[in-house]
Amino acid sequence: MRRRVRSSRRAYRMLALAALGLGLLVSGCGPQYVVLHPKGPVGQSELHLMAFAAIAMAVVILVVFVLFGIAVVRFRDYPGNRNPYTPHWHSHKWLEPLWFIIPAVILTVIAVPTVNVTYALAKLPPSKDPVVINVTSLNWKWLFEYPNQKIATVNYLYIPVGKPVLFHLTADSPMNTFWVPSLGGMEYTMPGRILPLWLEASKPGVYWGHSGQFSGIGFEKMFFYVHAVSGPKFTAWANRVRATARPMTLTAYHQLLRFNTIGAESYSSFPASTWPSVSHGFTLRGGMYLLKSNNPGATAQH
Amino acid sequence: MSTPAVSERHQSIPVEFADEEESIKITGFWMFLMTDMIIFASLFAVYAVYRSRTALGPTPQQLFHLGPTVLETLLLLTSSFTVGIAVWAMRHNRLRMVFGWLIATLVLGAGFVITEISDFVSYMSQGATWHVSGFLSGFYVLVGTHGAHVTFGIMWAITLLLQLRRRGLTAVTRRKLFTFSLYWHFLDIVWVFIFTFVYLSGKIA
């Protein structure tokens, strides 16, 4: 009895470990762990914090596992168990307060950087001039408008490397979240509100993004690609789109509103009325990334 | 137990509390009031958040007339007083007085509901239906939920009167009257907050 239980417990531990190991092995801890391999400062600082918290949690888990393991091994009920049996021992003057104090200390250690980073990410890096992109989630596609470049795209983005990009997020559909895991965390796109979110790519590449909030039948198709390219290439791309793509008319916009999924599109211009303005009852205050819009081009739109 | 008798020793303990089972029901009713209170709190939160979301509809300041609202307040405060007296009379075993004050409560309550409905009708006849804006939705649902509670209370009072007539003042009917009075006073408290937070503050610029 005793042996059997013990060995099956061990088997279960091993299995858990093996599953973790296997998972990482099968996929080789490769680049597909997008959250673990950020390509920009926002994702980087989020990852740092996550790793820090993970280490703290590993300590907690380890302590509990060890204590629990010892208790189970030492105090099982089998004949001849010589470990002390203390049926009336039910409280302890300093052990009990300890359960409060130690977790409180560990949590303080996590809490301080959490607050710091939360506030830090709410500010754009001061010296840089961001690229502004207005994002509208539609059923079930993404519309990206570049108010300064005066162009628009659907389901794909170009952004310059090394420059913060300020996304203004809204929706003309049920809620979604705008998420490019390689660059950093997500934020909701919601009808009736505009939320600012900034991200930055520090390496050129093509990064995928997706909606994180279920929004109906075509939600699975809301992938989009972010092409991070050098500054000049970005400008060249924008000029090319402006020169070669067709303009977005209101009719074209209304076609985008239809409930369907489509591929990538480019537009050489877009009607201003497709972006909500204050007179429609919107406001720009707030947002996790609460920031003063330091781009006049962007605010002029509202 | 439905024994109305109270022993001499504990004359001062009202029957509805002296009977253990009935007193447990009173505790239970208090707990129910707590859930109702949180329902109203949620509706207040909704209203508070939606207050300025008037879309293309009227603002609180344009919409509300204080006249009917003050009347409603008066009616409800008075009914709260009358039901308080009904409980006092019950504790002095004056069944006829209980009837009288309870009927007064009922009538005042009905007056309240009628005033409220006519107030709503006049708003809606100006086109201010709840479809128009988030603010109006929040307003009608908050105030309407209270009104529905009052209406329910009136029906409850009617069944109470019938039971009192059949059975007189037993531990059970006393407990029922007492919980009814708790309910009614509670609605009065909610109304005071509606009056303050919806109507009066709607008139503050």
């Binding site: 009736g192 | 002296a18 007193s23 009173i26 208090w30 958040v49 405060l77």
Partner: protein
């Protein structure tokens, strides 16, 4: 907390440690409390009404004052009319009542706080 007694004469013991919840009964010969309560409730209401109609103070302050008056009114109803300290043993209802008031105000307050940035400018 006691064996069921059918003669209903025993008051239950108050929960040890919760003596502040001891029950209190109010039965008087003439309903003075109710009458005074009624008068005061009218006074409180008209005070609030007058303050608002007169625009006696700056809006924020005014709002705070009339809310305080409403709270006073609530306390009055609870204290005078609702017999809130009555119970067969421990007046248990006081604990959830306190909690409910706290949660109710916290709920409204925090909801406003969380939603604040979204209030439309129309």
């Amino acid at each position: 907390m006691s064996e069921h007694t059918s003669d209903g004469t025993e008051l239950e013991a108050v929960e040890p440690g919760l003596e502040f919840l001891a029950p209190k009964f109010e039965v008087e010969g003439f309903p003075w409390a109710q009458v005074m309560g009624y008068v005061f409730s009218l006074l409180l209401t008209f005070a609030a009404l007058l303050l608002v109609v007169d625009h006696a103070m700056p809006p924020i302050l005014l709002l705070a004052v009339i809310l305080a008056l409403a709270l006073g009114q609530a306390g009055l109803q609870l204290g005078v009319f609702m017999h809130l300290r009555e119970s067969r043993g421990t007046a248990w209802q006081l604990l959830p009542l306190g909690l409910a008031f706290f949660i109710a105000f916290a709920l409204v307050g925090t909801s406003i706080w969380i939603m604040l940035f979204k209030t439309g400018v129309s």
